[in-house]
């Protein structure tokens, strides 16, 4: 019975709670029992809350007395760079080892206001710095589908926790691919909304002009439903958009024939096995009558170096606040990856170098945006792979930081331009999860959900459970 409970998607769970065939307490107990049994090896959580059981009981009572909320009694995980009031928030770094936040991130508050319950804080690459999950001070998470292999990052713990059936969804932040990448490697849906779609307030800033707040879920409906709750203008985040959000979960059926653009630069030199799996997904869209065209985004060649300069420059500024005086430990507690990024950024902005690096990168960003606008004049969405290769073993790419950075080449463009992107699970490659990336026009999340759902309906990868080790 317990096993079946945790197998349900968010949609199925909501239906069950509504019908009365299951209770929030049963749910939370089942999830925590699973976490206690399997997370020692998986390491997806940094903090687990037993208090969730008391909150679940209260949610059940509220439901009995007629309270109607969109996520009443639903257990979810919060990536540990999101501030949660009264709950330890570490950003997976010893710099914040015992930091207790005094307020909730807006995106978290909105979920709590709808009755959701925080089951725990998930592991990540510290400060969001990474795409493998290895840059954490709290133990490297294992890929639930293949222990010893990476989960992808930086929202490593949230993706692993959702895949391992430890919670119904996990929040995540995507600055250069950090939701789409672990989504891809963990066989779950990873969403990066349009920049400004979801408030960044209360999420520890990495690169303020590219940070996008999203989540990891088992299915597309689940992802759309959560976005309908977190999206919308927040007066506490000056960059949050006034564009009214949609009821995304109610708009998942495609009403017209779309044009699917394949950026040729995403496929040049791509691993043949991976290309075949991605093209199988493209063919599914073609069979539904959507037009498949090739587009070109020449500036993609420079997207990663542009991102490397701009992101690290913003990181160097955002991490300056961690001086150990008002909160946290001293800067000597930063690990190498954070130190590296702070220094790359500082150097890129420094006198004598700012023109060559920061300003040139900021101009290059404009060229990239123009290329994307030209592509979106011809296509409704752009598609391709998420990573250029399959999940790799722990430590395999660590030796050369540059090699690690190159795993982001396919995801950073959407962060630089602000476009929404999603990773939806497609066929495994070499027995490892693989994701299909769909990028949409600004604020057209409904379209990327629609296209993703076509793939999900055909392949149903969300039904493939990982075999966990106790």
């Amino acid at each position: 019975m317990r096993e079946e409970l945790t197998e349900l998607t968010l949609k199925e769970t909501l239906e069950g709670l509504e019908k009365g065939s299951l209770s929030s307490l049963q749910l939370v107990e089942a999830y925590i029992s699973r976490i206690n049994k399997f997370d020692k090896k998986l390491k997806s959580f940094i903090t687990v809350r037993e208090e969730a059981k008391i909150e679940a009981k209260k949610a059940d009572e509220a439901r009995k007395s007629g309270v109607k909320k969109k996520l009443l009694g639903i257990p979810f995980a919060v990536k540990d760079n999101f501030l949660t009031k009264g709950i330890r928030t570490t950003s997976a770094s010893y710099v914040l080892d015992n930091y207790i936040a005094h307020y909730n991130a807006t995106s978290v508050q909105r979920l709590l206001d709808e009755g959701a319950i925080i089951i725990g804080k998930t592991n990540l690459d510290a400060w969001g710095h990474g795409s493998s999950g290895e840059h954490t001070d709290y133990g490297i998470p294992n890929n639930p589908y293949s222990y010893g292999f990476v989960t992808g990052g930086s929202s490593s713990g949230s993706a692993a926790a959702v895949a391992a059936r430890f919670c119904l969804f996990g929040t995540g932040s995507d600055t250069g691919g950090s939701n789409r990448q672990p989504g891809s490697y963990c066989n779950v849906v990873g969403l990066k909304p349009t920049y400004g779609r979801v408030s960044r307030y209360g999420v520890i800033a990495m690169a303020s002009s590219t940070d996008s707040i999203g989540h990891l879920t088992r299915t597309i409906w689940d992802s759309a439903y959560v976005l309908s709750i977190t999206a919308g203008r927040d007066e506490y985040d000056a960059t949050s958009s006034f564009t009214k959000p949609d009821q995304y979960h109610e708009l998942l059926e495609v009403k017209e024939k779309l044009t699917i653009g394949l950026p040729k630069e995403f496929f040049e030199g791509l691993n043949k096995k991976l290309a075949k799996i991605v093209m199988t997904a493209v063919k599914i869209l073609g069979k539904q009558g959507h037009k498949i065209i090739e587009v070109s985004i020449p500036t993609i060649k420079y997207a990663y170096p542009i991102y490397a300069v701009l992101q690290t420059s913003e990181v160097s500024s955002n991490l300056a606040k961690f001086d150990g005086i008002r909160y946290g430990n001293g800067r000597e507690k930063f690990q190498d990856e954070a130190k590296r990024r702070i220094m790359i950024g500082t150097h890129s902005l420094s006198s004598g170098y700012a023109d060559k690096y920061y300003i040139q990168a900021a101009k290059g960003r404009t060229l990239l945006i123009n290329d994307f606008e030209r592509a979106f004049a011809k296509a409704d969405v752009l598609v391709g792979p998420v990573y250029p290769f399959a999940p790799f073993k722990h430590g395999e790419r660590e030796k050369d930081p540059l090699q690690m950075y190159l795993s982001d080449v396919l995801t950073v463009p959407a962060n630089l331009t602000g476009h929404p992107g999603i990773s939806v699970p497609i066929e495994f490659m070499d027995k490892m999860p693989t994701g299909f990336q769909i990028i949409g026009k600004h604020f057209q999340e409904k379209t990327i959900f629609q296209v993703a759902q076509i793939i999900e309906r055909e392949l149903m990868m969300y039904k493939i459970k990982p075999q966990l080790k106790a």
Binding site: P305, N329, R340, K363, L367, L416
Partner: protein, 103 residues
């Protein structure tokens, strides 16, 4: 002509950058970062190839322009003194304790 030994970022530049960023680095760390940062900047240097003479910078991709709010206190968002000091390692009589800068 760049000598094979010359790194894109020198030891001195790494130390200077670390000082600017208030990162306390030991000598062996500076040496380690010297080659890592040099490799990264060698790679990143290709942005030079982009023709940007007539291009404006992009600083942000939101549609937001001149977002202001009323200069009024929002009582729901004020920390109490206890909250504000809640995570400080060193505090005294309601103050944060910092390193001395005056004799």
């Amino acid at each position: 002509m760049k000598k094979l030994k010359d790194k894109t970022i020198s030891f001195r530049e790494v130390k200077h950058t670390a000082d600017l960023a208030r990162l306390p680095l030991k000598k062996h760390e500076i040496k380690k970062f010297e080659s890592q940062l040099s490799n990264i900047f060698d790679y990143v240097g290709q942005i030079d190839e982009m023709k940007t003479e007539k291009t404006l910078k992009t600083s942000q991709v939101s549609e937001a322009k001149n977002i202001f709010r009323e200069d009024k206190i929002d009582a729901t968002r004020i920390f109490s003194q206890e909250e504000a000091l809640g995570n400080a390692k060193r505090k005294m009589n309601g103050f944060f304790v910092v390193k001395a800068i005056l004799e």
